[in-house]
Symmetry: C2
Subunit: 205 residues, 2 copies
DNA sequence: GTATGGTTTAACCAAATGGTTAACAAAGGT
DNA sequence: ACCTTTGTTAACCATTTGGTTAAACCATAC
């Protein structure tokens, strides 16, 4: 028998369980019964609290996306220097994902499967645009501290180098023939490796 | 009524249809009936030719993976210089994916969902390891033409910068506020942008 | 022509799945 | 004590889904 403490009510139990199952199996692969089991409750309760699978899923997705959005916002809307943005994002993001390894896959997969999610989420979350970053970068390029590069391309590169390894984990582990520990060690190294790489790439010679 | 030409038999019709549906919806999201409709045949024929959904899926996945594997192999096992490897892969891969935009998502998603796929595929396809590339890179680093960097990290970076934009397409389009055409144009630019970026990053100053 | 073999289909089936219902339990207010 | 609201459950339901079957179709060989 499950005892409820003050901070463990059924609703958050369900959300936590749904998070685990959806991130592991995706929207289509997840079973409502499986989520109920994971939460240790009756299946009908899922519908009592969240009406439908779709709504439960959207709640989970929204929550997941809310965790990542601010970090991207930091690159685009922050007042720090380009160098600092790169260093901070690299360091913070890799640390963050190491705690939530399923998150990137979950988000990108469902974003691709259901394209209108992004417009839905865009409305509810304060969603960043690239404009400010663009101006900042143009200033730096004009100053001559940075080689000419489009803001869009640099932004893509920053995201790519940080996020991709976690999306491609099984492939990378297989090709580089590394076990879980060695992979984690590689990611740990990337906290500085990646920012050095980027800064080196855009620095004037 | 569908006429069969010499090179259009039912089996390849099914494979083509399955490719489309599986890449669009994933293993769990795809419906056998939908694949049959796409192929313009009776659902029972799917089982006549491929026994089960799982086997049909594995055939499609295997085929998809076979398209990408040789390109990765080119980085790792080729005899060309590091610079050429980067230039060629960048140029070829981006061109290739522009023709098969669903491919990367499909592969990485299912690779994450079903980890033992990779060992299955590894057995049937001549699958590259990183050893040769590692030695080549160590030689270059010792020569002093390239800054010190681990082969694993450089390899990850090359893949990341090339593959990630296609995985993150919906997010990127949304944040950079670009339409389909502009996105494609950005990718076209990356054919040279990415290799310059990488080479700049690893070149001795 | 008709026997033979692979190919294709409509109809069918059992299991699984998201969702509902009605009854019951707990909690809280009066 | 009694009633109302909220939370929880077992049983149930309609539909969907992967898969099967038995009969029909059709080319080719005899």
């Amino acid at each position: 028998m499950k005892l409820k403490t003050k901070d463990s009510n059924t609703e958050t139990d369900i959300l936590n369980a749904a998070e685990v199952i959806f991130q592991r199996k995706g929207l289509d692969g997840a079973r409502m019964q499986e989520i109920a089991d994971e939460a240790g409750i009756n299946k009908a309760l899922l519908h009592y609290y969240f009406r439908s699978k779709q709504l439960l899923f959207e709640t989970v997705f929204h929550k997941a996306f809310s965790l990542i959005a601010p970090q991207i916002k930091a690159i685009l809307d922050d007042n720090s220097s380009i160098d600092d943005k790169i260093k901070n994002f690299t360091n913070n993001y890799i640390a963050f994902i190491s705690e939530h390894p399923y998150l990137p896959n979950f988000i990108f997969q469902e974003l691709n499967r259901n394209t209108d999610f992004i417009s839905k989420v865009q409305k509810t979350i304060g969603f960043p645009t690239i404009d400010k970053f663009k101006k900042q970068l143009e200033r730096e390029v004009k100053k001559g501290t940075i080689i000419p590069i489009k803001a869009e391309q640099l932004f893509i590169n920053i995201l790519a180098l940080n996020i991709f390894p976690f999306l491609a984990k099984p492939l990378i582990k297989s090709i580089t023939n590394t076990d879980e520990n060695t992979f984690n060690h590689l990611m740990e190294e990337r906290k500085t490796e990646v920012s050095n790489f980027i800064i080196n790439a855009i620095k004037r010679k």
